[in-house]
Subunit: 370 residues, 2 copies
């Protein structure tokens, strides 16, 4: 019998029969391919080939290997595989936060597609902190993920360059990366925001407020642009543009607005969070929608049709976006070459007209945005 050197973790005396060895190995540590090979009386390569199917293994040998695997309850060590080869079959994704239903939907879609295509997902959050984001990216690169899906926190983070990522494919999600060599999956932010305003103008509103949050976020900025464009095209003044960074701040802004002589008669919000704040203030200040303010929000959410009045919104195809971005990333990984210039995929949004805008529909109407 061949000599078998014991490492520290295998300090028991070597039993003589395969049976005993099996029992022991099971208790002490995870069985390895070598264990399987020994038990089956073959070389490790035979086991490897059996598992990967890269070469034919004789019926009889296959049988033996199979049995040994079962007996030992052997599972190939993915870590060792990943370590050895280039491909890891894993992708990393960094969300600002997951408690926003939009991102939660995206995250769900990512896990589904990744599973379909045989990839594992390393997921984390940045809390919109550039430093956290950078650290998490570094960590993922150090873990040799095959690709990264990133919702970049700042509009102009100069450290996010191609050379920083080396040969690791990156797809920007929801917000682009300044360096245009990256792929990006975005939505019609500007067109969507423009549509919200146009709709309110059709209702006869002339003084329309834009409730944003942090303007450094690409999406907010792009939506503000849409608002501006619509207002300008209609010859209206854009005098009511606010940043609602908290519930308290929003309530202050709304109270102030109310006292304004020529106060706005309609509000558009820049995203779920802003919508949340505004709805909250509306409730606290006992305002009626759409009588006191007409309201249109960017981002649909689960119960938007259940609040009173049902909220008119711009809907982003969150699941679809997650799917598209993940597929794009994995395509890039598998085709193996980094493109000179990234693709920019702009996904369509649609307006769901309910009643907060002043419409009287009993049922929601869906209007595509162009």
């Amino acid at each position: 019998m061949k000599k078998y050197k014991l490492s520290k973790s295998r300090e028991e005396s070597t039993p003589d029969t395969a049976q005993e060895r099996e029992g022991e190995a099971r208790l002490l540590r995870k069985p390895t391919m070598t264990d399987v090979a020994r038990l089956a009386g073959v070389g490790t390569m035979t086991v490897s080939r059996f598992l990967s199917g890269t070469a034919t293994v004789s019926e009889k040998t296959a049988q033996r290997v199979q049995t040994a695997i079962k007996q030992l309850n052997y599972r190939p060590n993915e870590l060792a595989r990943a370590f050895r080869g280039q491909r890891n079959r894993s992708i990393g994704i960094i969300f600002p936060y997951l408690y926003d239903p939009f991102f939660a939907d995206c995250a769900h879609a990512v896990t589904v597609v990744a599973r379909e295509r045989g990839y594992t997902v390393l997921m984390t959050t940045s809390d919109e902190e550039p430093e956290t984001e950078m650290r998490e990216i570094e960590l993922m690169l150090q873990r040799n993920v095959d690709g990264i899906l990133l919702i970049p926190t700042h509009r102009r983070e100069s450290r996010l360059t191609r050379s920083f990522f080396g040969r690791t494919p990156v797809v920007a999600f929801d917000r682009p990366i300044a360096d245009s060599s990256f792929d990006a999956v975005l939505v019609q932010n500007t067109a969507g925001a423009r549509q919200m305003v146009l709709h309110l103008i059709e209702h006869g509103h002339k003084r329309i407020a834009f409730m944003g949050i942090n303007r450094n976020l690409y999406t907010i900025h792009a939506r503000l642009l849409g608002y501006r464009r619509a207002m300008q095209d209609a010859g209206l003044r854009e005098e009511f543009v606010y940043e609602c960074d908290s519930e308290a701040e929003t309530e202050r802004i709304m109270s102030a607005m109310l006292k304004h002589e020529d106060r706005p008669t309609a509000i558009v919000t820049s995203n779920n969070l802003a919508t949340r704040y505004v709805l909250n203030s509306i409730s606290h200040l006992d305002l009626r929608v759409p009588e006191d303010f007409a309201l249109v929000g960017f981002d649909d959410f689960d119960l938007a049709d259940m609040i009173q009045p049902p909220l008119t919104v711009i809907r982003q195809p969150s699941l679809e976006m997650g799917r598209t971005a993940t597929n794009l990333l994995i395509d890039r990984i598998e085709q193996g070459e980094i493109p000179e210039a990234g693709n920019r995929i702009i996904m369509p949004v649609e307006m769901i007209v309910r009643r907060s805008c002043g419409c009287k529909n009993r049922k929601a109407q869906i209007i595509p945005v162009s």
Copy 2:
């Protein structure tokens, strides 16, 4: 100069100066510790020690290593570290789905705590499919995660045993695993549900319906139990227990209920999803709350206070649960021993009394559940 064997990926001729080597390495492949050591003119162990701080390195040498690292833009290969050592500094977590705000909140908390404690999170979803769940668990074990956080899909999945997981710590989350050797972080499902019913009984309701979903889910089952207990204690009949598996199904159930001679006057829902369905039906059938039906839901959600009337709910501490479970799991990992019997941590819920139950509060009242 020492000979240096080139693998396939390093097919260029070896340049002679460190400078040249550096430029080349940067382009062709990730620099390794050996590269750093060579450039700094030291052994790999010195670099390793410098990085980990396990032993003192002379000022001068440290300086040289530091410079080399910078020059090569070297990043330690976490995969190799994980592969070599036992610790991987990663945990796996499997959610049924992420689009439920409850799970999304939990997921967020998990990523935050994991980051704080220096762990990477592999996250995936099972869509409540036991087979998918098993496959994903296997995958995580094969990737040698240090621990697993699991929201088990079925109440009695017999394959989830200690021996299946080997020495990998597992914490069951939101729902326990049948095998009681696992730790579990749960909430007061039964007490919470009981409280919902008690409150409605205080409002004078006698015929109260329970709207569940799939009864194989532990949480739904436990909440049904609470409902039963409260009804029985009050001497009431539990004749209206339903499974609302879809919007359509729920609407059918609700219509039927309406026609019932002694129809229920109040409804409790078993979770976010059921609440969603019921609210939907209420809207479609043009019912008023609480006049036609009083309503209390299990699970708070972001805009529960914004719908009309504001919804009275049982709130689960989702972020807190995610934090607790992650900390518990990492504690287990770091203490290194698998307990004989798992801890069962039951987190408190509270009732947030708004107006759908029939109360007239202007502001929400929070009532602890015991």
